[in-house]
């Protein structure tokens, strides 16, 4: 039986994430934990997160988890969700600027204000609701999910990774931006698979079965 650790650093809706994983992983033990030892002995790691970047980084720091996460990425399948994606980048504009983990070189930026679509219509911020996600490249975590299937988003900041080669999913909302990035044993998304109904559960199912290769 595999063990999946959901990192609990006091931010965000961990119950939804852990229940959604339990729903698709029959043969897995899902642990919601802040214990570095339990996290580093798990077969897979999920890093969710909500709230402000500064609070998330502070909470990760307080739980002594920054080094743990940095060291574990690349060693076993890791899924970052929403703020769990943003904290992987180098720096975020949120909270007047905050340094993040620099696992994925790049910036987290706020949507422009006003944000306009291609026809000049104003778009609301936060970007909240169901937007189509375009598969930039094939990836095992897109298995059985249609290109441009809608996922649930709730965010005001977006990721701009330096290396476009790491981008596996994109969305258009005023600008075109990365909503899923991948690397060795790493997949991280801006949207909430645990809140994205059938397609979200499929992505989690794909993660639970993923061998970590792209």
């Amino acid at each position: 039986m595999q063990r999946i650790a959901v990192i609990d650093y006091g931010m965000g809706n961990l119950r939804s994430v852990s229940k959604a994983i339990e729903c698709v992983a029959d043969n897995a033990e899902v642990l919601v934990t802040s214990d570095a030892k339990l996290i580093s002995t798990a077969d897979r790691i999920v890093c969710p997160g909500q709230g402000a970047a500064a609070d998330c980084m502070a909470a990760l720091n307080d739980a002594n988890l920054i080094n743990t996460v940095q060291e574990l990425i690349g060693t076993r399948p890791f899924l970052g969700i929403c703020m769990g994606l943003q904290v992987l980048l180098t720096h975020s504009e949120e909270n007047d600027g905050i340094d993040c983990m620099n696992v994925v070189p790049g910036q987290v930026k706020r949507f422009a204000s006003p944000l306009l679509d291609t026809s000049g219509q104003r778009l609301k911020v936060p970007h909240m609701g169901w937007s189509p996600v375009a598969h930039s490249v094939a990836h095992p975590l897109w298995d059985n999910i249609a290109d441009k299937a809608r996922f649930y988003f709730a965010h005001s900041y977006y990721c701009a990774p330096d290396d476009q080669g790491s981008v596996v999913g994109q969305c258009e909302y005023g600008i075109e931006f990365a909503v899923a990035i991948a690397g060795q044993q790493l997949f991280a998304c801006q949207f909430h698979p645990e809140k994205s109904a059938k397609d979200g559960l499929q992505l989690l199912r794909n993660f639970v079965a993923w061998n970590g290769k792209s």
Binding site: G12, N13, L14, R15, S16, K19, A20, C23, Q50, G51, A52, D55, S113, P114, D117, R122, L123, K124, V125, P126, H127, M128, G129, W130, S131, P132, K148, R150, Y152, A154, H155, S156, E172, Y173, H192, E194, K195, S196, A197, G200, L201
Partner: protein, 257 residues
């Protein structure tokens, strides 16, 4: 393709049971929030809103249990409102599995709560519910004010100014209910919906007055709403979520199908 306009069924929950009856869903126990939420998820709702109308504070804890159960089985966004007075209430609901909490009366009495809560948990989790009534006379420039206690208590606060202030305080979304239209089935108050939507950068959910599917379309196309909330037309099986979405799509509105 872009962001879809959302359709949100709203359920009143009293002491852990859905009240007002939900008839269309093929479920054994129409009072069980988990069954109802599951039914709406299957029907294609984009989100679900629970409004806790429990009068007795003794029974309030049952709501946390309800949220935990729903969040364990239904994987679409869940907003919970009613009786939220402190950041600790917000945190408890989020920890139980709510994705957003809706703050109404407490925001009026203590606007800093919105600021404090959005600082702690992020704007995207904080919905400010605004109950608004038209206070201008016919022929006058329209003016709206917010009311509390189910529309009974006037506050003298201008709806548009309040909406702008709540957005500045960190609300991630506004749930705007027209108390004049609530329960009337004659359609949203387009005037206030448009005025609020134009005044703020954050999304606005229109509520109050839906009686037919054209009203949903009008809320989006004329009122500029980002989402439409309705209770009775869905609960009593007059229309299904699927019918509502198909109709909106026919009228050129982008929806999640």
């Amino acid at each position: 393709m872009g962001l879809a306009k959302r359709i949100i069924p709203c359920l009143d929950v009293d002491a852990g049971r859905v009240v007002k009856g939900v008839k269309f869903l093929d479920i054994r126990d129409a009072g069980d929030p988990v069954s109802v939420a599951r039914g709406y998820n299957t029907a294609g709702a984009d989100e679900i809103t629970f409004l806790d109308i429990t009068a007795s504070s003794d029974n309030r804890d049952t709501m946390y249990h309800v949220v935990e159960q729903v969040a364990s089985e239904v994987f679409i966004p869940l907003t919970v409102g009613g009786g939220i007075r402190a950041v600790s209430d917000v945190r408890r609901l989020l920890n139980a599995g709510a994705d957003k909490v809706s703050i109404n009366t407490a925001a009026v009495h203590n606007p800093e709560l919105v600021q404090e809560a959005s600082d702690k948990v992020g704007s995207q989790c904080i919905v400010v519910a605004i109950d608004s009534k038209c206070v201008s006379s016919p022929g006058e420039e329209p003016r709206w004010e917010i009311f509390t206690h189910g529309g009974r208590k006037p506050t003298g606060i201008d709806t548009i100014e309040w909406a702008v202030k709540m957005a500045e305080f960190g609300a991630g979304e506004l749930l705007l209910t027209s108390m004049d239209r609530d329960g009337t089935k004659i359609g949203f108050d387009i005037g206030v919906t448009k005025a609020v939507s134009d005044a703020v950068e954050i999304p606005v959910i229109a509520s109050g007055g839906v009686g037919e599917l054209q009203h949903l379309v009008d809320g989006v196309n004329q009122g500029g709403a980002d989402a439409v909330l309705a209770a009775s037309i869905f609960h009593f099986g007059e229309y299904s979520i699927g019918e509502a979405k198909a109709f909106m799509q026919q009228q050129g509105i982008e929806v999640r199908l």
